[in-house]
Symmetry: D2
Subunit: 263 residues, 4 copies
């Protein structure tokens, strides 16, 4: 895959798997999972309760050569998110930010108005902004228009494991976008991740699906391969879907491959 790199902003990555750090049973398991995943970019929540643990996570990333991507999880307004991003920049020395502005605790869905507002402010302030957004193609375009470096739509609510609820919206987003589209939130298993890549996503962001799996390290390995499989399948060009069968061998004669009518 060395000839098929991911570029976000001014940086190029060989891995298309962005990881999160929340939910792991231990720091040791987290470290193993991150290594196995092959990730080169991992988000860390800036507003986490336990800064002691947080420090340890940063050390894990540092000693494995994984770039840290601070996120604004836990922010409910543009103001909070902007402030958190600025504190992260000072503390971590990076102007990259995964921008999250959450509407409420129950759904953890992004607030589209506050998100766009914060994105615009942060871009103007020189940040490389990767916004966690809903799957609305219109909001995705607006986020790109204000200068976001990538678009990170959710497949389904954070931690739900429901996969991509609306693949059609992902297709619409991907075909309009001129920046990388990254599935963020909702993936539960490897096939969800492969599908995201087949739909044209440039990368996938995962946390709970790996850290809360029964065996996080094994699942990290699964996800690494699923990203690669989906990306390769996207590039390879799949066969069309047919209503009727088509024999792979000539013995079975010509199958009727015309399209079925409605219903």
């Amino acid at each position: 895959m060395a000839d098929d790199l991911l570029t976000i902003g001014d940086t190029t990555f060989a891995s298309r798997l962005i990881m999160g750090t929340g939910g792991a049973p231990s720091l040791d398991v987290l470290e193993q999972a991150l290594r196995v995943s092959g990730t080169e970019l991992t988000t860390v929540a800036m507003r986490r309760v336990n800064t002691a643990t947080q420090g340890s996570v940063l050390e894990v990333l540092a000693r494995n050569g994984i770039r840290v991507l601070p996120n604004t999880a836990g922010c409910y307004t543009a103001g909070e998110a902007v402030l958190t991003a600025r504190l992260a920049r000072e503390a971590l020395g990076t102007d990259w930010v995964k921008l999250e502005v959450i509407a409420d605790e129950r759904t953890l869905l992004p607030d589209p108005i506050e998100l766009l507002d914060a994105a615009e402010t942060l871009v103007d302030d020189g940040f490389t902004v990767l916004p966690y957004t809903n799957d609305d193609p219109v909001l995705a375009r607006k986020l790109e228009d204000v200068g976001c470096a990538a678009i990170m739509p959710l497949g389904s609510p954070i931690g739900s494991g429901l996969g991509i609820r609306n693949p059609h919206n992902f297709q619409l987003i991907v075909e309009s976008a001129n920046v990388p589209v990254v599935l963020d939130a909702g993936a539960g298993t490897a096939s969800d991740v492969a599908l995201a890549m087949e739909l044209g996503c440039s990368a996938v962001m995962l946390a709970s699906a790996v850290t809360r799996a029964q065996d996080p390290v094994l699942m990290a390995d699964a996800m690494r391969r699923a990203v690669e499989a989906g990306r390769l399948a996207h590039r390879a060009g799949r066969i069309p879907r047919r209503y009727y069968a088509e024999a792979s061998s000539p013995t079975a004669g010509l199958a009727d491959t015309r399209e079925r009518p409605a219903f």
Copy 2:
């Protein structure tokens, strides 16, 4: 994956991808695709029109150390299929057979009655029988009961690329089976294959999805990784699906994870 081998009958395989040979644009592309796929078992149609080409395919398999699995594609009755299997045994020196008894040319769906009849005869005759069947859990059990070495249900019609139309039936088949269950027919892309493995299939059989892809070699690579990804995800134990969100980081508070009622 060296600790997670596939056993069919008396033979053990490291690869869980069974390939077919029909549909490739050239023998050279087929050979590259087979190599990249990592397959150790590949089916060849015994009733193919062009025995000259057929010979070449067998040579490809031989020089790549891939075991040949003769199939009875093009047979419409138990009698034809049994005869074809016996001719294959003589010609190729293997008592393994991928048993296909097709009901009609349009759907290429298996004939359940003729299939069961042929399977019983061939098992009695000492064959290791791998039947291509529909996704009916009852027929799957009957095929196992008469001694088949694996069950190969279709996800959707041959060459349709419609994936697994009825995952529920695959779950029912897998949980009852004491022999390997192999997705046979219908896969169109990597996520279909990953899903099959996540549902508990022991392996996947592919022909058109690879040979008729725009880039068969790239797709073979995708499929190899998708089988591995799905298998690892199955073993890793995925997170449960939740109706509501669950934060991966503790900042976002406790999400309500109770199940939603009906609808």
Copy 3:
């Protein structure tokens, strides 16, 4: 709907809803539900434990002018089913039978081999046979070929409420059949029933979805209208599915309605 009647064998029905009687909280609720459903044909299990209750059910059908359709629920072999059908013919004076030959208690799926055997015997014996079958298009055709008066494929397991798991198979069955196709088993709610009719089913058979609903009488009303709605939609000819939007009013300009490529 008076111009759009259902014909099974030599009999014509205005209603396209076939009801079952199992699972109702009381005989009174059952009677109300049957009335509201508008059904003209209702199945009764011949091997029910309590023949006292059974008698009452038959009285309910009689006084509401609903034709009784004896079924062979609880039979596991062709022999049992044939015997049960013959006893029903003597007891109830009808040569119609809803033929069920179940493979096991856990799935309640039909046994394809025993079913076809019993169907052939009963047709030869002069019965009008309506077989409960799986959704295999090949078995459906075989059942028609031996002389069944209708084909009754399951959408999903009895009482599961999972709807039609494989609409593609229903389309294949409907387009080949020359006798009515009736969804039997799996419907959970009104939209499942409407979908069945849109796919071209001639009627729908329901028991648990109505009798075990929280309000069986209200659900019977829902189901009656859903059958009508789905049938009318099928006849009306739905709009095609489009990848992109199409304005209903001319102000919005011309939308691009070309098909999207793969994925």
Copy 4:
């Protein structure tokens, strides 16, 4: 259904089907379809090209006692939409408006920022505002918070006939909303409409699915019944979905109804 009325703002309706007028092959067919649909509320585009035809549509509504709901189709900014709503109020003497602010011609998706802005302005100006919105639960809540009288999320793009692409979002919207939720856009056939009502929508809005059907009048009849069927099913309380079968008759013994684990 006389005991189950729909209330929007200060007005009560017996019908839960809101119709549009675009796309009909003729004014006569439109009139028949509207009558058969039983609608009591029908939208008319204020910016239609041909005001002569438009006048005729208004006459059709008037003579059939159908309330007119002006819409702002064709508006791309809050300013345009507010102006159009005010012109409609003057011209038609109604302060109700179906608010549409479209982002682009290709997707016809709503612009969330402009929509919310226009909604707030119009509510302040005394309008009863029914906004056409995407299926984002957060935006839905914001629209309710600024005083909209109903929320009208799209199932899929206008005229696409793709049905409800994300039922999960509809459930989230319905369970939070204190005003009626109305499916607006995307329905293609009766089962889509029944599903919307089962998910808890209070009404359904349709145009192309009826006016562009092969037989618009028959489809209007289908849709009227589908709304009723879905609403009744919602009220009746469907059976739960079960992984395994459950016999409706006691003969078949106790089925195992425990939930399946993941995958």
